[in-house]
Symmetry: none
Subunit: 215 residues, 4 copies
């Protein structure tokens, strides 16, 4: 009666499109308001359907949330895996930083979802997240330990450095909206993200002692 766009009314694509719209809507809302702050009616409205229809695609709110996390975190996981496969020296290779920053910039919801989930701690046991964190932890530990760069860091400091940097990366996007009022511009505007990317690259190099003043 009020379906926005039944443009291609085939069987599967139809449902798949709806599921995708639901995931899109849910990702945005969950990332903005958190799990408990998000109502399924809002999600449904944003997806262009009524709330009960959600249950044709996801068995319940938790499952929808898990699906959102899965879809949001998987690319990051893949990025990290690809990076790990690239060799040990890559941790000080700015390209990873660039790639991750680019992905986070294109998907600012991911950072926010992650922070909400991290702050929820172990309460909402989430396999996806634990997997991702675990993978990052192991990848990081192994790679940094064998890094040819010396820098000022000792082995037992690397885990903390790792988590700190992850936090710095995602933190920018997670709390970006709160900056808007103070910094004047929109922190998620391309120009601002570009500056943040440059800033983080420099920060990374400073931390590893590879920063060189340039003209």
């Amino acid at each position: 009666m009020s379906l926005p766009e039944p443009s291609t009314p085939q069987r599967t694509p139809q449902g798949a499109q709806t599921a995708e719209r639901i995931l899109d809507a849910a990702e945005l809302l969950f990332s903005e308001r958190g799990f408990e702050g998000t109502g399924l009616r809002e999600v449904a409205r944003a997806a262009g359907i009524r709330a009960p229809s959600l249950y044709n695609h996801f068995p319940n709110k938790e499952a929808l949330y898990a699906a959102v996390l899965e879809r949001a975190f998987q690319p990051l996981l893949r990025l990290l895996e690809a990076f790990q496969a690239g060799g040990d020296e890559s941790y000080t290779d700015p390209r990873l930083l660039e790639d991750i920053m680019g992905h986070l910039a294109r998907h600012p919801n991911v950072s926010r979802l992650l922070h909400y989930e991290l702050m929820a701690g172990g309460r909402r046991a989430n396999a996806v997240l634990q997997g991702w964190l675990g993978s990052m932890y192991r990848n990081g530990l192994a790679a940094l330990a064998g890094s040819p760069e010396s820098g000022p860091w000792q082995a037992d400091e690397l885990p903390r450095l790792l988590f700190t940097m992850a936090n710095v990366f995602t933190g920018y996007f997670a709390v970006a909206p709160a900056y808007a009022g103070l910094l004047g511009g929109d922190p998620l505007a391309p120009e601002s993200i570009e500056r943040q990317t440059r800033f983080l690259r420099k920060l990374w190099q400073v931390l590893w002692g590879t920063w060189e003043e340039e003209g």
Copy 2:
């Protein structure tokens, strides 16, 4: 019936004690579950009363939340103000870092409240937070700009550096519980906090180029 611990048992009127207990309970719960994830019944139960009694002390949930934030953020604000009064060079003085870290370590809820509030962005207009952020922003900009330390940072990078460091400080406590499973120990245990403090001091010095390998 279940009064936990009247820390300073002077002749503080019963009501004040109750209000304090409510604030304690609310601070913990809000910091753990966020605003929408926290029910007033839980707060009341944790405070040893029934939900309607909350309204004898706070006009509504939002006001209680604001009071929690106020009480939690004010000491930090004072710290920053005192620091600002201390002079321009103090931004690279490790003692501020030490003080802030100490305070955050003793009150891990503060970091979590702050992060929740930052992630909520502008939705819950909160004067306290805006004031604190604004003060930090102005203090930071002015002080860092006149800092005698050179380091690798240029004037227009200082705001980002400032926010980044703030995020690094509070982020540790905000997401600490999620680390527990991965790092093995409890990140909020004194020993772990001690190591984090040392790590952050070193990080700070590395960033400012004042780190020196020691014996």
Copy 3:
């Protein structure tokens, strides 16, 4: 539109089989959980289809329920009619009792459906049931009135005696599961049903004064 009735299972088309499977599933579930306690999704799942497909065979839940009752009660009705045709003296003929008991034993759902329906009283106006009860009432009144057996019963007590016995017959099966825990064995096991049949035959004879101690 609805009742296909493939009474004699020849080359019954696929659809008829499905309808039958639906009726089987619905009969079991309605008899176990009652009308409101039974969901169409459960019925569909038990029949191996999805809920909307039910509507290819029955116009709605009420009609499905009515069809279940019809199919379940008709054989009993036929039994009673055949018995009535057999002559007046047959009411004290133990064979009727045997036949009815046998049928109820082979179809324990029938008793349960009947009890649920009786307890629903007049709320779900059900023509089938009213017809069956009415027929039983009339048959019973006429036949018992002209019975050659005297026994201790007077004419105006016969209706009550009739209903009481009907209740005793069906009640065993309707409430049997609740006995399981107390009586030890499964009341619907053949052995237990056999004993119940013997017991009821004796009960019937005692009531009519035709019981004789035997070896």
Copy 4:
């Protein structure tokens, strides 16, 4: 806003009265429509309150149902216990029959609740009911076994006789409404209950061989 009678607005009686009204309403509705057929809104409306207020008196629907059963069955339990204490010969004493019949007649809901619960079988594990049935079973077995009356019954038939009679007693009230259309009069009218009581007394005596034709 629409409370019918806040006549005596003391603290406890007020709530107790409400709880009682809820129990009354729930007992009637549960007994008429069963557990799943009864909505809490109906219960609330019948009790003169709104649905959420139910939760000030009972934690959930199941607990309300359990409380209804408890209140409904306890008097019967007491009756049976008192009877058991009375001595072995009492099982053939018509006074017990009279008492039980009177109680059931005054509380026809009890029979209906019992039948609904029995038909639910073990699904809704109900301690009250199991306790009552267990008590009845044990009381019955012990007492009947030592009964001075001989009658036509053997020891191993007594359990079945017991359950049969219980079924006959409660069955009348449980399915009474369905009789209304057929018997003409209201089966729950005092006159009809009186006749049923006489009928059951006679039935009992016939079963024990103590019936004597009278003038």
